[in-house]
Every structure is written in C-alpha cells, then in structure tokens.
C-alpha cells in the first residue's frame, strides 16, 4: 500500500481548535487529506479522533483556525456501528439506497438505481442480503452495508469512524483488504482506530492524536515507545516481527523472534 498523500489536496485543516461548549477537545491541529492518501488517526478514548473526523466532514465548526475543502468534493462517511439505531425499520436495500439523491419525483427506486445498489452490494459480498433487516446482519456485514451506502455516492474521500470496532479478527482482516482495494482504485481514505496491532500497523500513514497532533508518518516513524507514550499517556513496548510493528503493554521476556524498538 502507498498512501502518504502527495496528490492534489482535497481537505485542509490549518491551526484548528475545536470544542464542545467550553471544553477544548482539539488544539492547533493542522491536517491535510490528499487524493491518494490512506491515513489512520490513532489515539486514546477522548483524544479527539471523532472530533477530527467531524471537522473533516464539516458537521462541526472549529472555534479557531480554518477548514478548506475542494469545491464539490464528494465525501462518503461510515459511522461507528455503536451509533446506529438497530431497531429502525429498514432493510439493507433501503439503507443503501437512501444515500442516492433522486431527481425523480417518485420516491421508489428506478431500475438503474436498483441495479446500482445491487452492484455495490455484490462488490462488497452481501448481494444476497438486500431484503434482510439491518439488525439481522453480523458486525462485518453491517460494516459492509454502511460502506455500500457511502460508496453509492461515488465519493472521492471515504471517512470511517472505528470501522473495525466490535468485529472479529477475520472480519477485521476482510475490511482492511476491502479498504486497501478501494484505495488502489483511487479513493482517499481516512479512518479512526484505537486498534494499533490489528489496523494501525498495517496502514501506510498514521496520525497520532491526543488533543494535538503528537506524531505523523509511517508506522515505522510513529509506532515508537516515545510517540505512543505521548499519545496514550502510558508506557508501551514496541516490537518488530516480520517487518511489522507490534505494541505490547510489557515486552514478554520469552519473546525471541523480534527485537525491541
């Protein structure tokens, strides 16, 4: 995977401060999203990861600094599964279709819209689940459904809030590969995660956040004990195994294949 972002700029935050009521959550944050970027935002709970996404989405106005977005930028957003109302009466097909703006007067789907929804569901491997209620899906399928809803808008930038939260290892693996494929197809991707070993270490570009941007670069650049301690406020040991950085609370004494960083 490439993706540290050198293509045309799509979103730019410059010296941004963000707060809820009087509580400052982010301070002096500068962040860029480029066309070929694949970035993971990592940090502890309450560090401001989701707030940073909201600034990129422009659903939150900064109290300081500036936010710039390329004109007519198409943004896809996949929310945290925990924020979804799973009792809402909606099928997978209805959920995906709602993101498509219709120029028709009639509210029901046209033949071409049905084909578009079916195609995106097929692409994500849930083509046979269109008539199911959203609650009847597994965690991985639910994540794919919201990805499908975002992709139906053919976004230039895809923003995901904790896309692997609450899913098993196999599903996490599938989602990561799916996102890598989308990135290969030319989509800029920014996601938040607190999963350092399962997700962050496999991404090409990371931004460590704890109220401010603490570190930025490839996993090799930022997954070090020093940067992670400044990010998470706790001492962590970083090991390297087969070229991949792994984080542990304490380095096991019996561990031999890798070397401490």
């Amino acid at each position: 995977m490439t993706g540290t972002g050198v293509g045309p700029e799509l979103i730019r935050l410059t010296g941004v401060d963000a707060s809820y009521d009087d509580h400052l959550v982010l301070e002096d944050v500068s962040f860029h999203v480029h066309e070929d970027q694949f970035t993971g935002i990592v940090g502890p709970s309450g560090a401001g990861k989701t707030t940073l996404l909201k600034l990129l989405l422009q659903t939150l106005n900064p109290v300081g600094g500036t936010v710039w977005r390329a004109p007519d930028l198409r943004v896809g957003y996949v929310p945290q599964l925990e924020s979804v109302s799973w009792n809402f009466p909606i099928t997978v097909f209805e959920c995906v279709l709602m993101s498509r703006k219709s120029s028709r007067i009639r509210p029901w789907a046209s033949a071409s819209e049905k084909a578009s929804v079916s195609a995106v569901l097929e692409r994500l491997g849930i083509g046979d689940l269109g008539e199911r209620h959203i609650r009847e899906l597994s965690g991985g399928q639910q994540q794919r459904m919201f990805l499908a809803r975002a992709l139906l808008r053919q976004p230039q930038v895809l923003l995901l809030d904790e896309p692997t939260s609450g899913v098993d290892i196999s599903t996490r693996h599938d989602i990561l590969h799916l996102l890598a494929d989308l990135h290969e197809d030319g989509m800029a991707i920014v996601l938040t995660t607190h999963d350092l070993n399962g997700i962050a270490t496999h991404l090409p570009h990371l931004v460590c956040v704890n109220k401010r941007i603490v570190g930025e670069g490839t996993p090799k650049d930022v997954m070090t004990s020093e940067v992670l301690e400044r990010t998470f406020g706790a001492r962590m040991e970083v090991l390297e195994h087969l070229g991949v950085r792994l984080v542990v609370d304490e380095a096991p004494t019996s561990y031999t294949p890798g070397s401490r960083i």
């Binding site: 009521d21 957003y77 925990e82 979804v84 219709s102 509210p107 209620h133």
Partner: protein, 288 residues
C-alpha cells in the same frame, strides 16, 4: 349491514366519517416520523400548545382561529427546535416548558376574558357534531400537503430520521427538513384537533405507527401500514362513537389501543422486539 348503513343516513355522520378517516390516516402517516425520531412527546406538547392558541384566538379573532392557532403551534415547534439546538436544554425539557407555557397562556387569557362554549369543549375531547365544510376543506388540504411532502421528500426524510449526521454529510439539508416536518406536524394537529381532541391527538400520532412497526421491518411498508391502520381506527372509531354515544376522539383512540393489544398478542416477542426502543432517538443511544 344495517348497522353500517343506518348512521350514514345522517349528514353529520357522513361528514364525520370522512373527517375521522382522513384524520386517522394523516396522523398515522406523519406519526411514523414522529415515533421513529423519538418525538412522541412533542405530539402531546404541540397539541396542548395549539389548544392554547385556539383558546386565545377565540377572544381576538374567532373567525380566524384556525390560522392563529396554527401559527401559535408552528412558532412553538420552531421555538423548541431552536432552544434545543442553541442551548444545553434537552428536547424533552424544551417541549415541556414551551408547549405547556403556551397552553397555560391561552387558557389563562380565555379564563379571564372569554367564556366556555361548545367549540372549546370540542377542541378538548373531539366531536363530529357541527363539522363545517371549511374544516373538511382544511383537513383535505393538510392531508394533501402532508402526503406530497412525504412523497416528494421521501429519501431526505428517511435519511434524516435514520441517521441525521450522515444525511447532513450526504447533502441533505437536515435543518430545513426538520423545520418543514414541524410545520406539517403543527398543521396536522390543528386540522384534526376538533375531531379527535387535544388530549387524544398525541395517542393517534403514536398508536398506528407502533402497531405498524410490530408488523414489518421495512420503512416503506411501515408508512403504508400506519396510514391504513390510522384510517381504520378513524372508521371503526366513528361507528363505535355513534353507537356508544361517547365523544369520537375517545372511541378512535380506544379502537387503536384495542388493535395494539391484538397485534402485540399475535406477534408476541417479535413485535415487542421490533418496537423496543422506538421512543429513543439514535443520538441518545450513542456511546460517547
């Protein structure tokens, strides 16, 4: 058959049947959005607020009471939205303060300067007697407006109800949709007030939608079922009202409550699961 045809020989019953069916269908349709947005309480509050406006207008411009009461309700609804968004006051508290204060103001003005009469009592409990052609025209117009709004803005309404944050990101003007929904809701309550009554309008906003939710997992079907159930409640409730000789609003609501019990019993746990948490907005469920 005789039971069905006999009341139809009376002109007042014919009008009442049309108005009750339309009212039930209208409240059933818009109730889906109210219930799924966790706003059941706003129906209750707005009905009281509009009644306050209704009472006040009896003093100042009785001929234009509908316009005045409607504006009174719309201002209350928009005030609730504004207060909730711009302050730390929760929606339930804002509804409680604004609508009940509005209700109290109207009643206080009426108590000081007016006198109780049939129209005042009818607005409280609902009545099919003396329904004017103007009221029927008004109800038909509001029903047509609501149906058009739902039809033309179907996806935007669905998106902003299910997931307002993502809807906003996806180009839906969520604020405008919510404001329009509040205006339509206020008009619907106003148009049905004299048939169903202020105290019972909120029930008819909620009951058909909850029954429909127990019957289906599809949003499109829920809209259709809720509208149909509301219409049926209006029809059956009107006949029940005629034969039991009690106010129409009470019988319409009791029919709805009876249907609710039947559907709950026949769908069992499936229905309960489907309707669980219906009064909670997604934002309230978010784990921050």
């Amino acid at each position: 058959m005789e039971t069905l045809l006999e009341p139809l020989s009376y002109a007042f019953f014919q009008k009442g049947l049309v108005v009750a069916s339309l009212s039930g269908g209208l409240l059933g349709l818009i109730g889906v959005y109210i219930v799924l947005r966790g706003m059941s309480y706003i129906g209750h509050g707005l009905a009281h607020s509009i009644f306050g406006g209704f009472a006040a207008m009896q003093l100042f411009a009785a001929k234009f009471y509908a316009i005045g009461a409607g504006l009174w309700g719309i201002v209350s609804a928009l005030a609730i939205t504004t207060v909730t968004k711009r302050s730390r006051v929760g929606a339930d508290a804002a509804i409680g303060v604004i609508t009940i204060a509005s209700f109290a103001l109207g009643v206080a003005l009426f108590a000081k300067f007016g006198s109780s009469g049939p129209s005042f009592d009818n607005a409280l409990f609902g009545s099919i007697l003396g329904i004017s052609t103007g009221q029927i025209v008004g109800l038909v117009a509001v029903t047509a407006l609501t149906a058009s709004f739902v039809f033309l803005r179907y996806r935007a309404l669905l998106f902003s109800t299910f997931d307002p944050d993502v809807a906003a990101v996806s180009g839906v003007n969520v604020g405008r949709i919510e404001a329009a929904l509040m205006v339509v809701l206020s008009l619907a309550i106003l148009a049905t007030l004299t048939v169903i009554g202020v105290t019972l309008v909120a029930a008819m906003l909620v009951i058909p939608a909850v029954i429909a939710r127990m019957l289906t997992d599809s949003f499109g079907r829920m809209l259709a079922y809720s509208t149909l159930i509301g219409t049926l409640c209006g029809l059956i409730g009107m006949y029940s009202s005629y034969y039991a000789d009690v106010p129409s609003g009470t019988m319409i609501v009791l029919v709805g409550a009876g249907l609710f019990i039947i559907v709950l019993a026949s769908t069992g746990g499936r229905g309960s699961r489907r309707s669980a948490g219906l009064d909670r907005h997604p934002e309230e469920i978010v784990t921050k």
